[in-house]
């Protein structure tokens, strides 16, 4: 199938970017990123700087890839990162617009590459259970109600790709932050640090250039792991309690 691609090209963080149009011939069996690989291979052969885009595992688990395709983070498929999107979605003559995540918290580094280290700083603020290596009790000494273990796992399946931020009209990082908090706060092991964790993570999230949550729910819709905005409600509740406790 013949495709027309409009790809965001931006040489560096402080340079103005623009859409550049490319034409390519793709097979329906290719993944979306393999289609871009072929475009890049062709550009390289012609001595042109290829399109910079980040991707690693190509199995939808590492969270490295991410781009906005025709206005939708990770493209049109539900529960799918862009590396798992396949070209059978498209047809001959289609036009595709490809952009990086757009958010102040994720500055563009080059073309489709963005800097997501703000997520690391949110986790560093409290997204963990402090347990010194070797000091843990026997694993079965801490039974966990199965329902909570499953809910915790649902939240923990976040891959940190940033699609939630890219989808949010406020570029809020609330779904990401809440998912990490929920993963830990739903488990008995996470209780001792629960409220401190919530305060510190929210403080850091606000200090990074993310917007606030106004319950649009666009994040849930874009999340390739289908993390539900219930986790945001849980975080908000914990945050209120934490503020009361902090007095």
């Amino acid at each position: 199938m013949k495709l027309k691609l409009h790809v965001w090209r931006q040489a560096g963080p402080s340079v103005k970017g623009q859409f550049v149009t490319y034409e390519t011939d793709a097979s329906e069996h290719m993944s979306f990123l393999e289609m871009l690989d072929v475009v890049n291979e062709d550009l390289e052969e012609r001595g042109v700087d290829p399109i910079a885009f980040d991707s690693d595992c190509r199995e939808g688990i590492c969270g490295t890839c991410g781009m906005v395709i025709n206005g939708r983070p990770h493209g049109p498929w539900k529960r799918t990162t862009v590396c798992q999107l396949h070209m059978r979605e498209y047809g001959d003559g289609d036009e595709i617009w490809i952009e990086p995540w757009r958010a102040d918290g994720f500055p563009v580094q080059k073309d489709l590459f963005v800097d997501r280290s703000a997520f690391d700083r949110i986790v560093a603020a409290g997204g963990y259970i402090s347990v010194r290596t070797g000091s843990a009790p026997d694993a079965n000494a801490i039974p966990v109600v199965q329902v909570y273990a499953e809910k915790s796992m649902d939240a923990a399946s976040c891959i940190g790709c940033g699609a939630c931020v890219a989808a949010c009209p406020n570029a809020s990082a609330m779904l990401f932050t809440s998912a990490k908090a929920a993963h830990l706060n739903l488990l008995p092991q996470g209780q001792p640090e629960r409220y401190g964790r919530v305060l510190d993570m929210i403080l850091t999230m606000e200090a990074e250039s993310f917007g606030t949550c106004t319950n649009h729910g666009a994040c849930e819709n874009a999340c390739p792991k289908e993390i539900k905005i219930d986790v945001i409600a849980l975080l908000n509740r914990d945050y209120m309690k934490a503020l009361l406790k902090a007095g």
Binding site: P50, D56, A156
Partner: protein, 637 residues
């Protein structure tokens, strides 16, 4: 090159305890005077960084990703083994040790494997305390599943995302120490060389992938947790960025490289679809718990799976290995799949595939149970192939997946270069010639949480470590070499893309040093690879500059190193005149087509020493002794 394994004396079950007592300690107040560099932030690197920092060392952790959480450990699906015996099915540390030595086809160091089995239980404790949401039974206790090569249920899992959850646990522990200031984290920073001063590893040279800045980082010791080299095959289940550069640069600085021909071909991957294919996707081995593998009894059978009646199907693993059935170790499952395809019984349009069928399991347990166990894998399969595995059997084919070979390390995980350590998949230590399922995660975290943080003290407490300045001649020399190599790569202005070289190399390695190897093919590869390498330096093309993100330049450096490694892989495969584990020499097989070891002549580790750019590497041997698990021909019948 001297290979001293430093395995402690005494009975196998007391070696590690005794060694921990015998090793020198660095007292708590002195630990802060030491600085350790950890390269890589996967399971081994992140857990080592976090634990070393908790102990009080200053740590610098480097990753080429935009976040430490992206490391490829994240892609491990099935689970992690431990000898907890929570199922009460007769498991023990000794049994896990036994299974691992046997699974490795008697080519691993017994003492290392025993230690691995010993710390496996502490790993589960540690991970649960960190909040890793392992699967649980309704009573709230931990659940287990079984995996290939074992007859007990000892695998802990978090859905099909066990690697992700373990890595996130280690990442979070790492970020906790970053927050405290005990670890300095370097994202998007790739190690390009190791710096030796007076023969000791004292630092690394890195290139920042966004700014292109080349920098020196100095320390008292360096640990490489930089993963394996399956991408030498071009198509593998490894992530796109996985490469051998860090380990290879260490090799070129004098670290011995052990058993490079021990590579694992994973039996359950989605078959190749076309030429443009960038990587292969693994379907967790845990699927073999409930899926049945079969092909048609007829050659060139073009019928759809559903049209082939039961009595015309060959469930060949169940037929050939009744005791283990579909759960035979990976090397056997892979080789038998290849045999079936070689006989013309392959399925799918390329005929390079076999069926993995869940029909019986769905009838027995119900689709909902199967969905709970493997839902995410089924969904991934459908996204990639467009076929629904609840209705039609999956098609699978083996693919390069893991490398048992790697930098040679002693019992303390130190390479032949003093002060340079290798952890996780980057070393060769625990899996012998074949790794069992759910053991990679176990080894990564064992090395990082429970071994390196203790053994490194023994070195730091005794080594003479004079201060090193950045203008030291050896430091400057290494920096200059890296800069000139980057310059050479950027100057490449030929007619072929970097990717085309990688693809061609991958085909040579896959055809000649893949699932089956023989002297003719290996010798052929040993002629083709140097020629391809020469062409690379004459005719490759790198576009762009060195001052911003340049993925072509990054790939060029990695492919250049694969072009060197591949030659040593083939050389290693050629001199190992036997079949063992993942290394199957066509010349050495039993009449039934099983691997035939030659214990008399090959019960050793082969270690290669770099001898110069155009000189054959020197071969060394570390003899292996089996005092606790006497070598037998592996039988899974």
């Amino acid at each position: 090159m001297e290979l001293r394994s430093k395995v402690p004396s005494g009975p196998i079950d007391q070696k590690w305890t005794k060694h921990k007592f015998d090793m020198k300690l660095v007292n708590p107040a002195n630990k802060r005077k030491y600085h350790v560099i950890v390269v890589g932030s996967g399971l081994a690197g992140a857990s080592a960084s976090a634990t070393l920092a908790e102990l009080g060392y200053h740590v610098s952790c480097f990753t080429y990703h935009d976040s430490p959480r992206r490391a490829h450990s994240i892609a491990a699906q099935g689970g992690i083994n431990a000898a907890k015996n929570y199922q009460g099915d007769g498991d023990s540390i000794f049994r896990l040790f036994y299974d691992t030595v046997k699974g490795g086809d008697f080519r691993a160091r017994e003492a290392n494997v025993y230690r691995l089995a010993e710390v496996s239980n502490e790993i589960i404790d540690q991970c649960v305390a960190q909040g890793i949401p392992f699967a649980r039974e309704y009573g709230g206790l931990l659940d287990n599943r079984s995996f290939g090569g074992a007859q007990v249920s000892r695998t802990f899992y978090a859905r099909g995302q066990t690697g992700q959850q373990l890595l996130l646990g280690a990442y979070q522990a790492l970020m906790k120490e970053v927050h405290k200031g005990q670890v300095k984290l370097y994202n998007q920073c790739e190690m390009l060389d190791v710096i030796l001063v007076d023969g000791q590893a004292r630092g690394i040279v890195t290139r920042h992938l966004v700014t292109g800045k080349i920098e020196v980082h100095l320390a008292d010791a360096v640990a490489l947790g930089t993963g394996g080299y399956s991408n030498a095959f071009y198509l593998s289940t490894n992530a796109m960025y996985c490469n051998v550069t860090a380990a290879w640069r260490a090799y070129r600085r004098g670290a011995g490289f052990a058993n490079p021909c021990y590579t694992q071909i994973h039996p359950t991957c989605i078959p190749v679809a076309g030429d443009y294919q960038s990587k292969l996707t693994l379907m967790s081995e845990s699927l073999r718990n409930d899926g049945r593998i079969w092909v048609s009894r007829q050659v060139d059978d073009d019928r759809a799976a559903g049209d082939i009646p039961e009595d015309e199907r060959d469930y060949y693993l169940e037929r050939m290995y009744p005791a283990f059935g579909n759960l035979v170790p990976r090397d056997l499952a892979s080789r038998r799949a290849k045999d079936m395809c070689d006989q013309g019984k392959g399925v799918g349009s390329t005929k390079l595939g076999v069926y993995l069928d869940f029909e019986d399991a769905i009838q027995r347990l119900g689709a909902d149970v199967i969905e709970a166990r493997y839902g995410n894998l089924f969904e991934m399969y459908e996204r990639i192939t467009g076929e629904d595995p609840y209705k039609v059997p999956m098609r699978i084919y083996p693919a390069p997946h893991y490398t048992m070979g790697g930098l040679w390390v002693d019992y303390n995980l130190m390479t032949t270069v003093p002060g340079l350590y290798a952890i996780g998949e980057a070393n060769f230590s625990d899996h012998g010639a074949n790794r069992l399922g759910a053991s990679a995660l176990m080894q990564g975290v064992a090395d990082g949480y429970f071994v390196l943080p203790y053994t490194i003290a023994d070195y730091l407490a005794q080594a003479k470590l004079d201060p090193v300045a950045e203008d030291n001649a050896e430091v400057r020399g290494t920096l200059d070499e890296v800069e000139s190599r980057i310059g050479r790569l950027l100057a490449l202005d030929g007619n072929r893309t970097i990717n085309s070289f990688h693809k061609e190399l991958g085909r040579i390695v896959w055809d000649n040093c893949g699932m089956g190897r023989n002297a003719t093919g290996l010798k052929d590869a040993l002629e083709k690879i140097p020629a391809l390498r020469q062409e690379f330096w004459e005719n490759a093309k790198v576009v762009g500059d060195g001052e911003s993100i340049n993925q072509t330049l990054e790939r060029a450096g990695r492919v250049a190193d694969f072009l060197e490694l591949a030659e040593v892989m083939c050389l290693d495969a050629l001199v190992r005149e036997e079949s063992c584990g993942g290394h199957f020499r066509d010349e050495h097989q039993t009449p039934e087509g099983e691997a035939m070891r030659d214990d008399e002549n090959f019960t050793h580790v082969t270690v290669w020493e770099y001898a110069g750019a155009d000189t054959a590497p020197r071969e060394h041997r570390e003899p292996l002794e089996f005092e606790n698990v006497p070598p037998t021909q592996r039988s899974y019948k």
